[in-house]
């Protein structure tokens, strides 16, 4: 009974908040609206304007900083959305917890036609039958370094433990990414749930902490451009952008291997505008739109037709944007580790942070 009362209260609160926030975003397009929940700075705003103009569907756009921040919002239904763009392991978690709707690929002709076969294949790691997700961006995680501040060639994650660079290292402030670095350094799988291996990784991160300048996410980019740090762990997509702004920067995939990730469009089960969600996803897969987005955010696109349209040869053949993956044999994709696995990682991460 008590629990029921509580859920009623919670529902009341949530309705109230949604009604209030709904008011703020009033004014649907003539064909309704679509609520998009995406990573920060992960789309060219022009494409949204084009979408609104062509389809008459109003886009309500919201951003998140990490998968972990996005998940509870979608799970509790606190913010209803139609299209979300989580990463691989988070999509798997959402599928496992029955939060996603199956996509109707009849309504996604551009996606079927333009997304490269290898990306559908890679997606099967988290979406076994390619039923729930449409790849949007992919890439690797590596070390971005400033050539004027780092003398030796950067080849290994171990340089992030070099005391020479104390207070000059930027680490990712998200639990899986930080542990990936420490696990790979020690030659373990980044999807391990073995406690001994994780303890080793945690100890490595604790040892590293005095050398770390700050744990940041999106700020890595600006800090590296500004010359604030010598080395930073960064997503490959950001690397191209930072090089454009500061030519002293270089990006490496360390020899111990790294994370190869895919961020894909998915539609939550409780999406209020299912139809528009499909229209939006398909629009994003149109070659000209995908190209626009690639040029704006510089994250590798799985859209083969868009890649063919890239005019700059340097970019089309860039080893950062489109690396030849066959030369690496130790790339992995994050998988969902279950609730217990998540808890274990969080627990250990908290120990690192409080140390």
């Amino acid at each position: 009974m008590k629990k029921r009362m509580l859920s009623i209260m919670a529902a009341l609160c949530i309705t109230c908040v949604t009604v209030l926030s709904g008011c703020g975003a009033s004014g649907d397009g003539k064909n309704g609206q679509v609520i998009v929940y995406n990573w920060g700075e992960y789309i060219d705003p022009d494409t949204i304007a084009m979408f609104e103009e062509e389809t008459g569907i109003k886009v309500i756009y919201d951003e998140f900083e990490t998968n972990e921040i996005m998940y509870p919002k979608v799970e509790t239904g606190a913010s209803l959305c139609d299209v979300v763009c989580p990463s691989d392991y988070m999509i798997q978690k959402m599928i496992d917890n029955d939060l996603l709707a199956e996509l109707d690929f009849e309504k996604l002709p551009n996606a079927k036609e333009n997304i490269g076969a290898q990306y559908w294949e890679n997606s099967k790691q988290f979406d076994a039958e390619n039923k729930y997700s449409v790849p949007y961006c992919w890439g690797t995680v590596g070390i971005l370094y400033n050539k004027t501040m780092v003398e030796e060639p950067v080849t290994s994650w171990s340089i992030l433990w070099d005391e020479k660079y104390a207070d000059n290292i930027l680490m990712q402030d998200s639990v899986r990414d930080a542990f990936m670095v420490a696990l790979k350094l020690n030659g373990y799988s980044m999807n391990t749930t073995d406690e001994a291996e994780l303890e080793t990784a945690m100890q490595a991160l604790i040892d590293q902490k005095p050398l770390v300048q700050a744990y940041v996410i999106d700020e890595v980019r600006d800090k590296m451009i500004g010359g604030e740090a010598a080395l930073g762990v960064i997503y490959s997509g950001e690397a191209i952008y930072t090089q454009r702004e500061n030519s002293d920067l270089a990006y490496v995939i360390p020899e111990e291997g790294t994370n190869i990730w895919i961020d894909s469009w998915v539609v939550p089960k409780n999406a209020p505008n299912m139809e528009n969600a499909h229209i939006f996803i398909d629009f994003m897969c149109r070659p000209d739109i995908a190209l626009k987005n690639f040029e704006y955010i510089t994250y590798s696109t799985p859209n083969e037709a868009a890649k063919a349209l890239i005019e700059d040869d340097d970019i089309r053949n860039s080893s950062i944007a489109f690396p030849d993956l066959s030369q690496y044999n130790n790339l992995e994709t994050f998988s969902y580790l279950g609730e217990e696995g998540d808890e274990l990682y969080n627990e250990l991460w908290k120990k690192v942070k409080s140390n």
Partner: protein, 271 residues
């Protein structure tokens, strides 16, 4: 009578909706586990090494900032209260002006001021002075707290100082008290309510902050506010987050009780 009730309605709705219900939910989550069974584990979790350390560090940093605020604010409030009205209202405005800007923006500004390649270090470098390396340290967090919360200390002290009847001070001087005696025995005791409410108004937000420590501490320094925030946003463990919030509330309530003993008439309250 009925009209009075009608006027109360919005406030009643407000407090039920945004104070009572959320509080009940915090207590519900704080005392249950994932299966919904009663537990006090979320409360006792404060004793684990990470949480206790975060709480201790928060207490320490907020105490230091409160003390610094008090040291800075009291003389300023004295100066302000000694001025005539037209002058001091101008200075009060100057003082409050930064508060019209968003608190996050002002803290972000400190970040770019203090950075290694930031404004302050560029100036120091230009003058051939040694660089200032306090970004991402507890010192930077204290600086952020003092900067953000100083007005909350100045205003209540100023309020209680201007309320002191000038005749009382004149009487003391008349009876032969010197400057120091007048201050120690008349002005200071009469301004205590303001000091106490200033302390509460600085200490409580400083104790619970997580934004300042994230921005100026580079996420390297985990305060209790950060722990709670991360339980909610990243770890998705609302139960533990609520439990720790309850523990934090206890510390705040203790602080409030102490203040109310000193500030019986609520004289120093400005907000």
């Amino acid at each position: 009578m009925n009209r009075k009730k009608a006027l109360q309605a919005p406030y009643l709705f407000w407090s039920i909706m945004f104070i009572i219900i959320p509080l009940c939910m915090i207590f519900y989550y704080g005392f249950t586990d994932k299966t919904g069974a009663f537990t006090i584990e979320n409360i006792t979790a404060i004793a684990t090494a990470e949480h206790a350390k975060a709480l201790w560090l928060s207490m320490l940093l907020s105490l230091v900032s409160t003390l610094l605020c008090l040291i800075l604010a009291y003389p300023l409030a004295m100066i302000l209260s000694g001025m005539n009205v037209s002058q001091n209202s101008f200075i009060v405005v100057i003082f409050i002006l930064p508060m019209w800007m968003n608190f996050l923006l002002r803290t972000l500004a400190w970040q770019s001021l203090l950075e290694k390649t930031g404004v302050i270090n560029n100036i120091l470098h230009f003058l051939h002075l040694p660089a200032l390396n306090i970004i991402n340290t507890p010192t930077a967090i204290i600086l952020g707290m003092v900067y953000n919360f100083l007005p909350f200390m100045v205003l209540p002290i100023y309020n209680s100082l201007v309320k002191i009847d000038g005749n009382v001070v004149n009487a003391a001087k008349d009876l032969g008290a010197n400057q120091i005696q007048t201050f120690m025995r008349i002005i200071l005791p009469l301004s205590i309510p303001g000091v106490i409410s200033g302390i509460t108004m600085v200490f409580v937000p400083a104790l619970t902050t997580f934004v300042i420590s994230t921005l100026l501490g580079g996420s390297k320094i985990l305060l209790i506010g950060n722990v709670i925030e991360q339980e909610f946003t990243r770890a998705g463990n609302w139960y533990l987050g609520s439990g720790l919030s309850i523990v934090l509330m206890i510390f705040i309530i203790v602080n409030m009780v102490v203040s109310s003993i000193f500030d019986k008439d609520g004289e120093g309250a400005v907000l």
